[in-house]
Symmetry: C2
């Protein structure tokens, strides 16, 4: 198959096409994955997440530069809220990142969040596999840190960077628990702003609580400062990423996380497939009865899934 071979040869156009197929659920995408899968598992997948307004895109942009300076080829998968009303702001970020787009060692790709529940992590992981097969050493996955979909996305990473920011208050820092627990590197961005010390102390407390709760943990997450808009903090973050990668390699954690990710991917694909079966099963007349309140949803489900549980 031409496209899969071109992906393995690192051809950008082929990679972009394969990711589009996978994002759209085009069966040609699955064929590409089947061909390239044995050649994947090498790229270091780095998740970047945090609340809206933390400057994640700018930080990602800075980090791409830092990793390139160390000779790594870098892919970026940006999980994009894709709001038609705020296209300006988001486009601005992408344009800022565009200074890397002439660099053949950098490939940037947005994944929409328009898909069904659970579909986001599936297509993000597929995109990571394609970039991995293309030979990128690092794949950065950038997403906003709220919502179950986003946790699922971040759980795909070998190394997760949590980005905080001064002055947004407790509620805003409240990225979901699952993400905080997954974080291996913490960064307070916009550290030249008022409130930096308070935010830093807040993160220190949180890391202290985590350490107490998990005394057996063998990685101690660093807490770093950055002013990504001014390029400050890039080397320290790149060092921390390299340190975590070395830690993963020495403990077998790298292969372990890659394997768990593939396992989760099978379950995500299975849920997607079954959701399609569900839509087909729930015929119109039954849904009409529920809509008219002649039948309650739970009784409807009993009719729809009769016998299905036994098939497992």
């Amino acid at each position: 198959m031409g496209i899969a071979a071109d992906v393995l040869a690192g051809r950008i156009a082929a990679g972009a096409r394969a990711i589009t197929w996978l994002d759209d659920g085009d069966p040609r995408g699955a064929e590409v994955i089947k061909r390239i899968f044995p050649h994947t598992g090498r790229a270091h997948v780095i998740g970047i997440t945090g609340p809206p307004g933390a400057g994640k895109s700018t930080l990602t942009n800075m980090l791409v530069g830092a990793l390139r300076a160390r000779g790594q080829r870098v892919g970026v998968v940006a999980v994009d809220p894709s709001s038609p009303f705020t296209g300006g702001a988001i486009l601005g970020d992408r344009v800022r990142m565009a200074r890397h787009t002439l660099d053949p060692g950098v490939f940037i790709r947005s994944i929409g969040t328009r898909g069904a529940a659970g579909g986001l992590s599936r297509s993000t992981h597929d995109a990571c596999l394609v970039l991995d097969a293309m030979g990128f050493d690092a794949v950065i996955v950038e997403t906003v840190g709220v919502g179950q979909d986003e946790i699922d996305v971040v759980n795909l990473a070998h190394t997760t960077i949590i980005v905080g920011v001064p002055g947004l208050g407790d509620e805003v820092q409240a990225v979901k628990a699952g993400i905080l627990e997954a974080g291996e590197i913490f960064v307070v961005n916009k550290a030249d702003r008022d409130g930096y010390e308070a935010t830093r102390r807040q993160f220190e407390l949180m890391l202290h609580l985590r350490e107490q709760a998990r005394p057996e943990e063998d990685w101690s997450p660093p807490l770093l400062r950055a002013v990504a808009s001014a390029g400050e903090g890039a080397a320290e973050i790149a060092d921390a990423i390299a340190a975590h990668r070395a830690h993963l390699d020495s403990t077998g954690g790298f292969a372990l996380r890659s394997g768990l990710r593939e396992r989760e991917q099978v379950l995500a694909l299975l849920r997607e497939r079954l959701a399609r079966v569900a839509r087909a099963r729930a015929g119109d007349s039954l849904l009409d009865d529920v809509e008219a309140r002649r039948l309650d949803p739970y009784s409807a489900i009993e009719r729809l899934t009769g016998g299905l549980d036994q098939e497992g």
Copy 2:
């Protein structure tokens, strides 16, 4: 069944227990829904959403007071990020709301987000049905406006209020497109802050674009100001809710949205049930093969779902 009868009699303890059962997937919850379902469809479900830091809890609190003053019984379903690290801030909001907890005309309930993808909107809707059956005139569903789960939750409402706030910048206002499109009432909270005018103009532009994109729309969303911490803006928001309710009643939109919600609930339940089947089908040895990269995820799925599509 005692609990269902007690729910229909408006007993708080029974309602709380039923919601817990439904949240936990306890089959007794489904039995309650079957009994109460014919008596539901009366409550006005009001969604409140916006970015973190917009003051949604304070606004909800204010709105509860305003609706109570108009003689309505009000239920609140707060979709809670439930972060262990920010329990303080969130608890603070709940405590602030606690001034209503001695009022038998108010019932406040948090729903966790710990469930599986898609489970959040399912258990939120179940909670709305219970509050509806208990005789609450209005049910407010409060959630943060990012993530597919949250869109699903907001799509459950008859009337959706989008809350913005000055000074967070474009990116932070970028609640998801689906939510912006669903919004029927827009509120700029913390309107005494610097940047109010800029945020207001941003929302005006957004509403203007939306109007151009949908000339056939028969509801023109109002844009209101509020300082919820000082109780400002409550009457205007309550008026707008009443106006939208009257609009829904006059166009048949109220029953239409209720029906679509039940239809969506059947599909959500079906997805949950099928996800359980999926986990049972994906046996350990097949997942082990994928984890060890001996088998790719797409080929694994073909083996797992063989013949299933035909069952529909």
